[in-house]
Symmetry: C2
Subunit: 189 residues, 2 copies
């Protein structure tokens, strides 16, 4: 009997290990997604937050006189959509760090609150991405109907940095979307 | 023994009824939210989709000549952010109608797919709201840094209709957010 128990121990041990590794898989994936979301939203906020370009542009002050060359700056906080994007990414990044700490505890009650905040991050980040992309595209292409001239032909580097920030923020928001999607998929099984 | 069984029947019947009504509560709420989301996104798409205003505006064609009065139209499809908003609300409205049909069946497998699409609607609607709001605000306030003049002082009715559409769309997207939030909350219990 004793020998039988001893013989079954390694089998049970292996089985337990397999069960643990299976339940650890989604948790590791969850933590990895949070780390990536933290890095991407932090990078998006920094890339747009330090975005600034100064150029000497010919400006017509009086119609009858020739244009005067003046230094003009493009800064992210001149446009409210970009301010919203920086603020959203900063909030999402701080939250991702906090949720990482909370998720490592793995308590069920805590995780149910965390996933609701993940959902709120999806809404906030996607709305800020939409706003930044709409204004960014307007700066890139302009619009003849409302007579808004494009500015990216002058402030090229500034616009490129905006595009990089939007791309990073979009990837970050997709990760939050995946976190919520994973939880919904897991629970519907 | 028979009398005992008979006596317990009304109690069991009452208990079953209570259980049924408790499980019917969230389902009715789910269906009600879908109906409301359908109505709101449909209204948002229609209000913006029929938005058009023509005004006679003095335009300077040649610098040395006085301005000429010309009829100028403001249409929703002149701005890509508004086109995106109409398309998003039309998709969300069609999906809400489809999900309403699928949700009435109440099959678990179907509902797990429906809730994933609800989440995608949240992302799509919030991004289109952000885009429409950013362009709408630009039209309302203008921006001196990029020299984009406000247009809502000329096309007041057009802008008001845009604002109503954004408000309706925002309410619709909050309902989709609630649908996903409810499912997450329900599953975490």
């Amino acid at each position: 009997m004793e020998s039988q128990n001893k013989a079954s121990l390694p089998v049970m041990d292996g089985f337990e290990r397999k069960v643990t590794s299976l339940s650890d898989g989604p948790r590791t994936c969850d933590l990895l997604l949070r780390v990536l979301a933290f890095v991407l939203t932090l990078a998006a906020a920094i890339v747009l937050g330090v975005d600034k370009q100064t150029k000497v542009v010919p400006i017509k002050v009086v119609d009858t006189l020739p244009p005067i060359s003046l230094p003009v700056s493009a800064k992210w906080h001149y446009l409210s959509a970009f301010t919203y994007s920086v603020a959203s990414n900063a909030i999402a990044c701080s939250y991702a760090a906090l949720s990482l700490v909370l998720a490592t505890s793995g308590k069920k009650g805590v995780m149910s609150s965390v996933i609701i905040f993940d959902l709120l991050m999806v809404a906030m980040l996607f709305s800020s991405n939409g706003a930044a992309l709409a204004i960014g595209l307007m700066g890139y292409k302009g619009n003849s109907h409302v007579m808004w001239a494009k500015v990216c032909n002058v402030f090229g580097r500034f616009c490129n940095q905006v595009a990089v920030s939007i791309a990073l923020s979009l990837l970050g928001s997709i990760l939050f979307l995946l976190l919520v999607g994973m939880r919904l998929h897991k629970k519907s099984k």
